[in-house]
Symmetry: C2
């Protein structure tokens, strides 16, 4: 096990009717900016709940943070926040609204352009912020990460800042999600775990078990949610799984991968593929190309998560990878680039982008542009 420091201060306020707790949680001595996406919260009752709870608070609203939030939109919000002397932000929406709000919070607290913060990789200063989560997927509600797109150049990068002060998670707000949103959310949560789990073997038995526990839970609930997307306990486990998949709890003292995310971000930046969906396409390819490096962990994963115990080690490894792709497909997602009409040209662009940036990802930092190309070819 590697040395590590763990501290996650976010207050999770979880359950039915918890949006009504906003008055106890929000500051009364600061101007608040409440941020929203495109308006679905007006149809599912969340906007009304938030507005009712915030009666008497001094706040402004900012609308229009889009899926895969762009720095172009964030700059407008930063300008409005500065004009209005905003001191606290409340994101109401999914991971995109929250990620965008994290950058607004950093932008208002800074004199530099928001894109410079993203490129630097972390925020020096950031206003406090919180959220009412409506789409379980990214884990952004309990972590330091944010991913921002620059529309102008079709670039998409992650950066880090503070944790949310609090996050309100009411599973009932997920009832209005589309099947595709749920599929992408489950794929996102599942892949977050694989990025932290399918790496170096023998680091921590306990972290392995917890990663496997999230995977087993997601596999168990996914088909049941399809049958009954308004079952409270199912949606509560889905919402909790997405948060715990990426809030530092399963990565204490271990190596991490994240190459799939880096490649997936490129597919989103270049073709607008929904984040969770991009991971469902790339992850099986990453495993196929790096199956030797990940051999021992893939064996363990196959046995403990899919019950694969028959065959040679190589057959079991291949089977575990097949079962992974099957799982993504069972959610209703495509898993091949050709199914999304993405061809060789994109693969070359991504290779070149990695090479130009001089980056390499993965637990062994060996996923260069050429390896990314190989992974994408394997997903064709």
């Amino acid at each position: 096990m590697q040395n590590f420091i763990f501290q996650n201060p976010t207050k999770l306020v979880f359950g039915k009717g918890q949006i009504a707790k906003l008055p106890e949680l929000l500051p009364r001595d600061k101007k608040i900016m409440v941020t929203y996406g495109g308006g679905s919260v007006k149809n599912n009752g969340v906007y009304d709940q938030v507005t009712t709870a915030m009666k008497g608070f001094d706040y402004i609203e900012f609308w229009g943070i889009e899926p895969n939030p762009t720095v172009e939109t964030i700059r407008k919000a930063v300008a409005r926040g500065k004009e209005n002397n905003v001191g606290f932000l409340l994101a109401v929406g999914g991971g995109s609204v929250l990620d965008g709000t994290k950058l607004i919070a950093a932008g208002i607290a800074s004199e530099v352009d928001a894109w410079d913060i993203v490129k630097k990789g972390y925020a020096e200063e950031q206003l406090p912020f919180a959220d009412v989560l409506t789409v379980p997927a990214t884990g952004s509600e309990m972590n330091q990460g944010s991913v921002i797109t620059r529309a102008e150049t079709r670039e998409k990068y992650g950066w880090f800042g503070k944790y949310p002060q609090f996050s309100i998670l009411d599973p009932e707000v997920t009832y209005s999600l589309s099947d595709y949103q749920v599929a992408c959310g489950l794929a996102d949560a599942y892949t977050h775990v694989l990025e932290q789990y399918l790496t170096t073997p023998g680091q921590s038995r306990l972290m392995d078990r917890w990663a496997e526990g999230v995977l087993q839970s997601v596999i168990e609930i996914a088909p049941k949610i399809k049958e009954n997307p308004k079952d409270y306990d199912l949606m509560a486990d889905y919402m909790l799984a997405a948060t715990l998949a990426l809030n530092d709890f399963i990565r204490m003292g271990i190596a991490q991968d994240w190459a799939t995310h880096q490649i997936g971000h490129e597919l989103t930046a270049l073709h607008g593929v929904t984040h969770g969906h991009s991971l469902a396409i790339v992850m099986p390819g990453t495993l196929r190309v790096l199956k030797e490096q990940k051999h021992d962990k893939l064996l363990q994963y196959g046995e403990r998560v899919f019950g694969i115990t028959e065959g040679t080690e190589q057959e079991r490894v291949d089977k575990a990878i097949e079962k992974t792709e099957e799982f993504y497909r069972s959610l209703g997602l495509t898993t091949r680039l050709s199914e999304e009409n993405i061809g060789e040209e994109t693969i070359e662009i991504i290779r070149n982008r990695f090479n130009e940036r001089g980056v390499a990802f993965g637990e062994n930092k060996n996923v260069t542009g050429d390896v990314a190309r190989e992974i994408l070819i394997s997903c064709s």
Copy 2:
């Protein structure tokens, strides 16, 4: 799943050589009281590491917090803390030193007698505190709980306050623990999980998986630690398991039991049985007496943790309880009251104590004095 609020702000500083980080973590503007137990830290190098790291800090030492810390000792420390205008506490030791220090921190911040804080069940005010942990067992390094004994009346109760600001966990400091300390630590961690897991079925698939993950890890490492108690990765997993077994991570939205702990505390208060050992005696009895109420969870536990899939449901439940007692015995602990020369008289005292206090414990609040008696008879 029940509604819940989760927030655990403790900073975990984990790994080799982390005691040297104390200068970055401790406050320089406050008088610090460093608290110790009986002196084992002088033999295992921890005292030297702490003293070296604290050069230049303004601090006093308080020695002599005993196993099952008594309010009588804590009162002396509170008086010394007040005289010296102490503003921060650093516990260096195991769960007892830490639990005692939590009460010192509350006592210095208050005008009432320390025992009144314990009897009230929570502290209104408490100085900030932190710890260097030397015995993985109680989880006190990352939770709000503390258990204190009143020697005069042979009473032992839990109470709640703040979380530690930070906890330094260096697995290397566990190398000098005795076999019995490790056995009690593993039994304590294991039982903490059972108290949160073997309750109402169907609350959260994910919390179940995480609880099972800690149990599986402890079962896997326990025999290996016996063979090699200086294997860093083994001891790191042991240390991490003990912390994660009782830091709120596995009890989100679920019912909890804790009857075994309440009964075990009485055995410790009346006979000085080491805490983890008292749990190894009582838990199998709790399961035997409440096996109908816990039927579904015991079946799941038997299958997932011990691989029990053969026989009628009743046989599988009984087998799961047997395997639990076998596990405690495999650690080298006795599991029967007669083996510790505890007889009927004690059982009657405990029943009467429960009845006089008018308390009932367990996830269904049905472990009254009479049920506690039945449990203890079953452990005779």
